[in-house]
Amino acid sequence: MKLELTINGTANSFEMVNPAPDCRFRLADGPETAAQVEMPEPGVYSVLVGGRSYDARVEETPGGLVVVIDGHRFEIDVRDPRRRSRKAAGRRGEGAQEITAPMPGKVIRVLVQAGDPVKAGQGLVVVEAMKMQNELKAQRDGAVVRITAREGATVAAGEVLATIE
């Protein structure tokens, strides 16, 4: 059974060969790994790999899952390949990017409009919160499909401000 994951912005395939608790799985082109998994607390996974002990805490956020292991943070999106958007089909590692507000704030400036081509790292929307202005950027090259942000509007954390494809 194969799934598609995005880990900290990078796409990876994931294959589960044997289910929990005695997992065998493969991440992208990596080796097939055996892992014994238990869930000692809700959202906490104790994973033993070759005798090494990992304590993984999973948080659900508006933008997807966040897995924290020993202070290292992984933003992970788990997608079922059968439900992938038709537009993105066949283009490995690409698909719709939703630019979301990382925290509550106010939209100060919208730098692009629908139809504009954008490059990775290009600024799209500027949001102000806690007396600081922050420019939200495109993660990958693409074109602006839709801008939902309005200058002057207050936004909540996780609210979609723009969609790039």
Binding site: M1, K2, L3, L5, I7, N12, F14, M16, P19, A20, P21, C23, F25, L27, G30, T33, A35, V37, M39, E41, P42, G43, Y45, V47, V49, R52, Y54, A56, R57, V58, E59, E60, T61, L65, V67, V68, I69, D70, G71, H72, R73, F74, I76, V78, D80, P81, R82, P102, M103, P104, G105, A129, M130, M132, N134, A157
Partner: protein, 481 residues
């Protein structure tokens, strides 16, 4: 509040709308609402704070730090109302509160100061200063701190626009557009001296703190002793005496801190004086074994200093990290939001001061400071190891914090060698990017995410095949317990 509890003194918390469920309100014996969330409508309203004191029959006010703590008008209003202000006199706040007035007082006391103007300047005066002392120079707000209203200028051509920007930012932050000018010292170290004086004319210094690790001119890590002073111990007495001279010139009493910049030749220059208790006071408390808040209250009540300068000792090493809800790898972008999980570090030598609890929401109206994590150990190397251990145990979920960033700094060779200066963080980012994770850890994270999705979606969907039915059911039962 903890000290007041220990002293058997009842406490009253004042709070704005955003802080209704803040920890200080929950801990206090009484609480009074002082207004809507914006500080200008609540915490900065002298009248409302005084009303709260009168209404509850409070005998004293501890102004904390920030807000009205260095507001001479407020201190005077307390004096008039017959309410004890736990701090210095209104007059000495005034003498030391304005940066330019403080410089004047320091110069008069014979304390070395950074070359600069003792008064606010206009463009022609700024140009003149640049000609005399050369560039780079620093424009600074007369009425404030925390990096606001501050601009570095490297060339005369940039002076006009820099002055304009600094003045307007100062106006917005402190309602005072006055700007003064200083020569910029290269790679300075920020070393400050803690002072304590009673109302009977006795004053001592409690040693130094090094606060060179800053971002946006705000301190994020502090330590006592300073690694530089540890190598050159005669600096402590020299800086201590210079600080006392400057403070006495202003008629100062209670707790206060004199800040110095130290150049690469170990010359120190008076920068400014903070006429209040400071955020980083725990590292001094840990190394001297004193409770500064207790001493503040006793002094305010008329007590004498219970020790002389010779009786003060410094033992071991303390480091403090200011835990902020922000992402250091994205320009320190603030991250207000709800804490979904909190595990605090415990064990020997750990001190955690903060307002954070599981389920609390970081408000976006104020500074995103969550807590101050301080450690004490027998020497600096052990303090570093202890802090790393404490940071590993400190698990905050739901928002981003700078915990991982501090871990990187503590592992950094330059930090460990004590090679600190106020540009440390900028240079650090030139040396280091965000921490990289081991490949296997990444794979485990992916596995956890997949299993979690399976558990959430129940027995449907592709991800469900990731876990056996029995395992999924057992997991869901645990969640429902």
């Amino acid at each position: 509040m903890r000290t007041l509890r220990e002293m058997g003194i009842a406490t009253v918390a004042v709070y704005s709308d955003a802080d209704r469920t803040s920890l200080h309100v929950r801990m206090a014996d009484e609480a009074v609402h002082v207004g809507p969330s914006p500080s200008a409508e609540s915490y900065l309203r002298l009248d409302r704070i005084l009303d709260a004191a009168r209404q509850t029959g409070s005998e004293a006010i501890h102004p904390g730090y920030g807000f009205l703590s260095e507001n001479a008008e407020f201190a005077a209003a307390c004096e008039e109302a017959g309410i004890m202000f736990i701090g210095p006199s209104a007059r000495s706040i005034e003498a030391m509160g304005s940066k330019t007035a403080a410089r004047k007082a320091a110069i008069a006391a014979g304390t070395p100061v950074v070359p600069g103007t003792a008064h606010d300047i206009d463009l022609p005066q700024a140009r003149q200063f640049g000609h005399e002392h050369g560039y780079p120079i620093l424009l600074k707000a007369v009425a404030g701190g925390g990096g606001k209203g501050m601009r570095r200028v490297d060339r005369e051509d940039d002076l006009e626009s820099a002055l304009r920007d600094a003045a307007s930012e100062a106006e917005r932050s402190f309602r005072n557009a006055e700007v003064y000018i200083e020569k910029l010292i290269d790679r300075p170290r920020h070393i400050e001296i803690q002072l304590l004086g009673d109302r009977h004319g006795n004053m001592v210094h409690l040693g130094e703190r090094e606060c060179s690790i800053q971002r946006r001119h705000q301190k994020v890590m502090e330590e006592c002793p300073s690694p530089l002073v540890a190598l050159h111990p005669e600096m402590r007495a020299a800086m201590g005496e210079a600080a006392i001279r400057a403070a006495r010139a202003a008629g100062y009493y209670n707790a206060g801190t004199v800040e110095f910049l130290v150049d690469e030749e170990r010359r120190f220059y008076f920068l400014e004086m903070n006429t209040r208790l400071q955020v980083e006071h725990p590292v001094t408390e840990l190394v001297t074994g004193l409770d500064l808040v207790r001493l503040q209250v006793e002094i305010a009540a008329g007590g004498r200093l219970p020790f002389s300068q010779e009786e003060i000792t410094w033992r071991g090493s303390a480091i403090e990290c200011r835990i902020y809800a922000e992402d250091p790898y994205n320009n320190f972008l603030p991250y207000p939001g709800k804490l979904t999980r909190l595990t605090r570090p415990l064990g020997p030598g750990i001190r955690l001061d903060g307002c954070v609890y599981d389920g609390w929401t970081v408000p976006m109206e104020y500074d995103p400071l969550l807590a101050k994590l301080a450690v004490w150990a027998a020497d600096r190397q052990q303090a570093i190891e202890r802090m790393i251990r404490a940071l590993r145990e400190y698990d905050v979920g739901g928002i981003r914090t700078n915990v991982g960033f501090f871990r990187q700094i503590l592992e950094d060779e330059h930090y460990r060698d004590g090679k600190l200066h106020t540009g440390f963080i900028e240079e650090f980012f030139e040396r280091q990017g965000p921490p990289t994770e081991p490949e296997e850890m990444r794979a485990v994270a992916a596995l956890a995410a997949v299993l979690h999705t399976a558990g959430r979606n129940g027995h449907t969907g592709e991800a469900a095949q990731a876990a056996s039915s029995a395992w999924l059911t057992a997991g869901r039962d645990a969640l429902l317990r």
